[in-house]
């Protein structure tokens, strides 16, 4: 494609060492691109903002389920009720995964998709075909695949090769689950105001499925590379790691996608049965990419990298800050590049947005706990199964919404009004569940 060519023509970088698809060790790339490598290494530094970065110690991020007991209550019956902590920098992603108590429950090999530089291993497993290799990893145990990863010498967190084409350093996506997800999205009718290249592809011949590396704009790739991991997913033993985008990127689209998904055994999709109520719960995970898509920034063509990897000056040239972190640690470059307001004003705007979102989250937490209590009481009173079942379905809808915004990591910033709408629905369904249970 033309873009590739252009890049090859200029290929602006003097290389001291050649790098290739199997070079997962960032240190090697660092010899060619020291500025970016330095930034990358900084992701090991502890950072914290009011809602971002991580509390807790240098050694171990704070325990979310201790801080917000209603989270733990929601997760009873699932590994997340054992251990669920603040995220931190990319440098820790593999170590933190290996350290989580959630591994005490059986977990699948799919987990590594987003926590390690795993492409070489996928190729090996698929006999050269990464997609094939990936598809079956859900059958392997986490421990098994993790061992193979370490043995193969590719046990690194996300690395240069995961986002860059070693040929010319152009951006590219590599993750199979993202490929399948974005293709399903493109093939659907869902509106994608923030992703012009998909609209373009739809208008075209549609001979080949949508290929982000060929069809997407550079600006879109500045978000797609993050969308490889910062998304809602299914990742367990019953089927391949899946991003639920086949009906669109909105919360409601993902919900109907899951509702219409059946397991091999014909049972309707669910992540776990709630320990106290037996409700078939949908677990939501970090839907940053999806929520961002509902916001004004996405519509305006503002990418993840614009805020989380803003340009910085290195001598005469500009480089992207590879210290991926909260933009609030970096407001002048992350925001003032586009906004004319002062740094304090920009911080205040974020704080107002996050405070409102936090208040609604707490309100939702209260509602969901009262729903579960009401369920136990009703069951105690021997309420009819039909009543209990209606309540379970409402709990599923409520928790899905509440968890969605709780798991999303911007405390509502990525799309303030949409996040508030989702929380309003969460509260409504939780309270409706209570009334159902109380109605004689």
């Amino acid at each position: 494609n033309i873009f590739q060519k252009k890049v090859e023509q200029r290929n602006p970088y003097v290389r001291l060492v050649e790098v290739g698809e199997d070079d997962t060790d960032p240190a090697k790339w660092g010899r060619n691109w020291p500025a970016q490598y330095d930034g990358y290494k900084h992701t090991a530094i502890r950072t914290q903002t009011r809602f971002g970065g991580h509390g807790g110690s240098e050694a171990l991020p704070g325990e979310k389920i201790e801080r917000d007991p209603w989270l733990k209550r929601m997760f009873l019956g699932y590994a997340f009720s054992i251990d669920y902590r603040d995220r931190r920098g990319h440098a820790f992603m593999l170590a933190d995964q290996e350290a989580t108590e959630r591994l005490k429950k059986p977990q699948t090999g799919s987990c590594l998709h987003c926590h390690a530089s795993i492409m070489p291993l996928y190729r090996k497993l698929g006999g050269g075909d990464a997609m094939a290799g990936f598809k079956d990893t859900y059958k392997a145990s986490y421990q098994d695949l993790s061992k193979q990863l370490h043995d193969s010498g590719h046990a690194h967190p996300v690395s240069c090769v995961d986002c860059h084409d070693p040929k010319d350093m152009s951006l590219r996506v590599t993750r199979p689950a993202f490929m399948l997800g974005i293709q399903a999205l493109a093939a659907s009718e869902a509106a994608v105001p923030a992703l012009p290249s998909i609209a373009l592809w739809r208008a075209g011949k549609r001979e080949k499925p949508f290929d982000p590396n060929a069809d997407a704009t550079r600006n879109e790739l500045r978000s797609f590379v993050c969308g490889q991991c910062h998304v809602e997913y299914y990742c367990s033993g019953k089927m391949t790691l899946t991003f639920p985008w086949g009906k669109g990127l909105k919360l409601d689209d993902a919900e109907s996608f899951w509702n219409e998904t059946k397991f091999a055994d014909g049972h309707t999709f669910f992540d776990y049965e709630h320990a106290e109520t037996g409700a078939p719960i949908l677990k939501a995970q970090h839907p940053e990419f999806e929520l961002w898509n509902q916001g004004i920034h996405a519509r305006s063509g503002v990418s993840c990298a614009d805020c989380h990897m803003p340009y910085m000056r290195e001598g005469a040239t500009k480089v992207s800050d590879h210290w991926v972190r909260s933009p609030l640690l970096n407001v002048n470059r992350a925001c003032q590049s586009c906004h004319r307001a002062s740094e304090d004003e920009m911080k205040a705007r974020v704080d107002v947005i996050q405070q409102r979102n936090h208040d609604l989250l707490e309100r939702g937490g209260k509602a969901i706990v009262e729903l579960i209590d009401a369920f136990l009481a009703a069951k105690g009173r021997g309420a009819p199964e039909a009543t209990l079942e209606t309540a379970r379905q409402l709990q599923r809808k409520a928790q899905w919404r509440l968890d969605y915004i709780a798991a999303e990591n911007s405390m509502g910033f990525h799309a303030p009004q949409e996040a508030a709408r989702v929380l309003a629905e969460a509260i409504d369904y939780a309270r409706q569940g209570q009334t159902v249970l109380l109605t004689p």
Partner: protein, 176 residues
């Protein structure tokens, strides 16, 4: 935001204030021993040229230069039409002062990016908008009104010079 309350170029206070600024600047410059030098070689001279290319002698002016070429005014106004006072005396002083400050900052790297137009820079801009658009602005703009009773042209037209702000050149979807 309220219209910025800075002294309008051309007024007596303005000349005094900037006379001092210049004196001070040269003083420090001499002390640092770089001022004169850089001012002459790096760029200072270019400040006396109306040619936009003179401004991009400094790579850090590049984004604005690029932006200007895409924005509505590139056919009708060059950098100094908007960024330097029109009448001679203050223009001379501003050039010397800016030229000195920019050169000095540029050499020492003592400036924060993204570069933002300073309140005085805004006042100069505003005056220049009104200069060229006097007739058009007649009913809405009152040159002798105190700042808090003025309405900043940039409040609505901040993009006339350089298009949508992208001061560090982050690629927006409009320019992939």
């Amino acid at each position: 935001m309220a219209a910025r309350g800075s002294i309008l170029p051309g007024t007596r206070q303005w000349r005094v204030r900037h006379g001092l600024a210049l004196g001070l600047a040269i003083g420090i410059g001499a002390a640092l021993g770089i001022g004169g030098f850089t001012f002459r070689y790096a760029a200072g001279l270019s400040y006396f040229s109306p040619d936009p290319v003179a401004c991009v002698n400094c790579h850090i002016m590049r984004t604005q230069y690029d932006g200007w070429q895409k924005a509505s005014h590139h056919t009708v106004a060059v950098c100094i039409d908007c960024h330097l006072p029109h009448d001679f005396v203050p223009k001379y002083l501003a050039k010397a002062e800016n030229g000195y400050r920019h050169s000095e900052r540029f050499t020492t790297g003592a400036f924060v990016e993204p570069i933002r137009v300073q309140p005085r820079g805004v006042a100069i801009l505003e005056a220049n908008c009104r200069r060229c658009h006097a007739a058009l602005a007649a009913e809405i703009s009152h040159a002798d009104a105190p700042p808090e009773r003025e309405l900043s042209c940039l409040h609505c037209h901040f993009s006339v010079g350089h298009g949508e702000s992208a001061r560090l050149g982050a690629p927006l979807s409009k320019h992939p």
